[in-house]
Symmetry: D2
Subunit: 387 residues, 4 copies
Amino acid sequence: MITTDTLVSFFLETREHTENICKPLEIEDYVVQPIIDVSPPKWHLGHTTWFFEEFILKPHKKGYQLFHEDFAFVFNSYYENVGKRVIRNDRGNLSRPGVAKVYDYRQYVTNEMKDFLSEEISKELEEILLIGIHHEKQHQELLITDIKYIFGNNPLLPKYNDLFSENLSQNFQQEWIDMKEGIYEIGHTNSDEFCYDNELGRHKVYLQNYKISSKLITNAEYLEFINAGGYKDFNLWHAEGWDWVKQNDIAMPMYWHNIDEEWHQYTLKGLQKINLEAPLSHISYYEAFAFAQWKNCRLPTEFEWEAAQQFFEWGSRWEWTESAYLPYPGYTKAPGAIGEYNGKFMVNQKVLRGGSVATSPKHTRPTYRNFFQTNLRWQFTGLRLAK
Amino acid sequence: MITTDTLVSFFLETREHTENICKPLEIEDYVVQPIIDVSPPKWHLGHTTWFFEEFILKPHKKGYQLFHEDFAFVFNSYYENVGKRVIRNDRGNLSRPGVAKVYDYRQYVTNEMKDFLSEEISKELEEILLIGIHHEKQHQELLITDIKYIFGNNPLLPKYNDLFSENLSQNFQQEWIDMKEGIYEIGHTNSDEFCYDNELGRHKVYLQNYKISSKLITNAEYLEFINAGGYKDFNLWHAEGWDWVKQNDIAMPMYWHNIDEEWHQYTLKGLQKINLEAPLSHISYYEAFAFAQWKNCRLPTEFEWEAAQQFFEWGSRWEWTESAYLPYPGYTKAPGAIGEYNGKFMVNQKVLRGGSVATSPKHTRPTYRNFFQTNLRWQFTGLRLAK
Amino acid sequence: MITTDTLVSFFLETREHTENICKPLEIEDYVVQPIIDVSPPKWHLGHTTWFFEEFILKPHKKGYQLFHEDFAFVFNSYYENVGKRVIRNDRGNLSRPGVAKVYDYRQYVTNEMKDFLSEEISKELEEILLIGIHHEKQHQELLITDIKYIFGNNPLLPKYNDLFSENLSQNFQQEWIDMKEGIYEIGHTNSDEFCYDNELGRHKVYLQNYKISSKLITNAEYLEFINAGGYKDFNLWHAEGWDWVKQNDIAMPMYWHNIDEEWHQYTLKGLQKINLEAPLSHISYYEAFAFAQWKNCRLPTEFEWEAAQQFFEWGSRWEWTESAYLPYPGYTKAPGAIGEYNGKFMVNQKVLRGGSVATSPKHTRPTYRNFFQTNLRWQFTGLRLAK
Amino acid sequence: MITTDTLVSFFLETREHTENICKPLEIEDYVVQPIIDVSPPKWHLGHTTWFFEEFILKPHKKGYQLFHEDFAFVFNSYYENVGKRVIRNDRGNLSRPGVAKVYDYRQYVTNEMKDFLSEEISKELEEILLIGIHHEKQHQELLITDIKYIFGNNPLLPKYNDLFSENLSQNFQQEWIDMKEGIYEIGHTNSDEFCYDNELGRHKVYLQNYKISSKLITNAEYLEFINAGGYKDFNLWHAEGWDWVKQNDIAMPMYWHNIDEEWHQYTLKGLQKINLEAPLSHISYYEAFAFAQWKNCRLPTEFEWEAAQQFFEWGSRWEWTESAYLPYPGYTKAPGAIGEYNGKFMVNQKVLRGGSVATSPKHTRPTYRNFFQTNLRWQFTGLRLAK
């Protein structure tokens, strides 16, 4: 049972952390949306704020005055139940509200929430509050990866700061962990600890004998794949993966640059020579699959990953799995707008497990299910082999 | 063990059946390709023939003369290992080779095969021959559904013939079949009976308690969904399903027409009043899912379907399942072109189980895994509920 | 004044000539539409017939029975005033009505017209009849160029026949014809001879001194442009022409093939070595302009062409001019559907003057204004320099 | 002959005026590019600066140090001769260089230019300088119209300032000015006054009798067209204009809003009730043409406009003409990058004559030829009738 004080601190810390992430930005950096998957930082700041206003303050705080009546339109993301919204690929076309105004909005809502939380709240509201906090934590990760995209695709290649280490070394020998055939329990136990609805419904699955690697694939290993012509051999690829390679002239992970015959990668610290020992990052599912084919291995399913995760280190890369993103047995989505959080995306996406250097503290766990379309690469996505 | 005589008969029957399907066509009907998923009938005739030429006669028959050296280019479908090919959406742009020439090609290859099969063949070749026969049976089904599309989207709505019954009634009461939690075996047992590589690797899965309907959803039931505003309530749909509905103005199954307030459907016998008791057909996965949501049910997984299939009638509709099309444990694709048959499509598609009124005799079985993208509707696709 | 007998003969000859053009075709060749600009031959046969039915028989012949009530829908081209129609890029998706049926339709309408023309008709009707005949002659040219496209883009490169000579030699020395500054009269004199409304309004224009070539550019001259890198030097091109070159990988005229280092061109007689002395053909306006730039010359305006045309030979190629397709002073379009013939296309197209080897007899004249979008190449388009 | 002092003042005034236009902007407003035709204000600031650096300082000033070596890549617009550049629709994806940096760049180049101009310069350089100044004036107009687009398509509809009057009334009676048939001289006389190369080549044209209106079409007149169903009658439109209307759901000029049955328009002063007497603005060529058709009139040609312009007031709207944008007789483009200024756009655009409330002082004249694609509406485009 969480005390209200703990909740308030958690809320305030989270709000502050979001703003800290944006500290190194100049005002211009808050505005742009170079691709549809990347939202402008000021939109993240406003959207995470709108969530608290829309689902807590507006329906539950007596006499609450909206900060601005048009902000729901501007900062709603995809909640069809909540009315019209700016279409997603127009977010980068809006110069107003300006950054200062968005910070005012944040301050206003944070204060109103503080005031609101000074009194006891119901169990139901506490749950929505926790969703709001974790929702903001998810956007903290997106903020970092979106900022990386904004900088990493600018011809001047500005750096974010000098501190953000994205390429942790894995100083240990690779091993194959042996997992025995049998029944395993999968999913969150629904204890007091927070989790999303898509993790619930702990249930049994039957797994066959399998081996899973103790180590993520490194840049050095992936370079071998490139040098062996991996991007040119259609036998390694799914048919639609091969089309994706051809249509987009893909020949290396996102952010890699071959400059004067030397491999570099753009990182949040700026352009650097490639770190061969660091875990590979910024690949699509298609690339992860093709690499595994080339190695005569495969990607683990999300169930194999979860069953074995206690035996290896994880958390620096989101790891592509072979599993499609589907509901667990007995999954039911919540009624209304909150129900739009997860369920409606359960088609044509792949599950990723783990977490990444951009994931906020206390925001991942062994049962956490992240998910993306198979072509996306702007997250810190990597891969671990199974066989 | 199949005797060679049986094999030869099987081969010849299959070849003849393909040609029988085309009997009602006029020459013009063989040529067109109204959408990319629908191939011109003459292309099917040539492509199924090319398969035997390319994988059996050319490499294995001594002194075999190609019928025409450009036909591999014209009639290859997607086998990247076999060289260049006409791009898929250009098939309907080719008036030559003409229909008579394609029939000559068929005759030539059938005769050469008969000659070739008059002597013993190796086990390996027998397997390729069986794949070729079953490949042609798959194209027989596609021929029927493609012809339906060609006629059903022509403003004159010509009929195919007067005999093809696509709307079999289900004269029995709907019941919920109770299935108990536990371990089930899934996949083909790899006995002598033919199956595709994607069915192999019989393995255990753990299923929770579930109920599955004994009956397919009927047109009458789907009409209730339409009348209740099912196509207008985004809460029932996946996010990308909803986009699909909006962008394509979808408001009813394919081939349905509301004429003067009365519901009709185009069938291979021509335009008819809707048969309310017949099983629903020509819906996308998105529609199947939304309907199930509206009923507070869900679609079965392919494992649930296979475990329960002995308890209900099936075979008139391909049934959408909730399962993504993924490899079974231990799946490995064959080397070379034959290996391109199944494995490279195992991403972003859904499994369908059952069979349809258009499926050729001896061409489906309880372990058969069909698969399509989630938006496709030109097959005889229906749905069965689970919960 | 044309006598009725002359008119009837003219009508019947024209109808017959259309059918003669199609004699070498197989049934399949009548059906396909490989690009939106190319219509299926059976559509041309039906559409030219529909024109007489829609604008003469239906409104003016007592007791006329439509051949088929859906044919107006199938064979209308762009006449918005006449109701709905099959959208243009769906023409190649229609296998029905079949070719035999379309010939029945032609026969029926031709007979009904013969019957109708056995009695005197009004001056107004005579004008519409003449438009109908010339409309069919225009489609005769399109039939030939569309058939060339259908065959020339088929991997088997079938020939149309052995007689059609498209590459007439120009056995004479190139000369620069000097034209003096001053006032010239442009446009049709509106005598009894037939012309389109876009030629009418004979009017004065003031031309500066100019020179115009007596000879069309030959394949040999164009080859020099290719060899000099003309397709790689953006300075020669319009900005949108350069985009067109880049996006479509254009490096030579349509129908040219470089086979084993030797230049060939597909002609209606099949694939042949390039005829260096023949006039260049199948180029876009962009290419014509770039070539002229490279020669330090320019294209003539349509006025310069018309004023000088008596001094040079023309008629084997449609010649791109620098003139945009605009109304002549005093141009007014006819009321109703006939008014849609020309006026509504007078934007973003270029005027071509001359005629081509595919133009029907009696169908061009010094004042004739043909027009196409700047990127189109499937007509027999060539170029003549001015300076 | 311009004195150097005059030139320097002209240069400095122009530079300052650009910056004054941006005074009301917040930093965020400098960054966005909501459609491809609208560039971010900071891009305009940088691009006009780059022009002087690239064409004057870099080649001609001894020891000149580039401000930043990547800025040519960022701020080049379309000059293929000057190397690679950011593709046009990526301009709004660049947060860096930031606004302050761009102002530093301006200051640096302005100072270097001042220094450079303290000594005599050659006639050739003076010409390039004048082009640079007028180039910047053109961008001043674009700045205003782009800012209007950025604000006018923001859901908050912010205003630019309270002073910018775009809707000047025309307090006089409409009259038809009679112009007599005959020879007129068109084009710039190439005196000392600056003009662009596309105005040069003063030459004779022959005009027929015509009448031209003394007054621009007002909002009130255009409202009649809307109310009479002008947007629904395809007979009034070009074929491609009608497609444009249908595909984009066009039913009114850009920036018009029908709010609670009352017509409003977004102006640089914010949203206002429509000013019925003000000249119509923000229409495409297609709309101008359709309106003229509806009035049984037509648009003037650019020659008719130029010949008559001394008899009417003009300058508040750019006026669409019927003339395609084509070279004048004898037009030759300058060698190298400067030659890319005008000539390469001379295809598929229409000429506009006049000027607008956004046109900078001393930047238009009777021979000035502006040009845009037929569908564009974000400039202050209006129309004047002829017949």
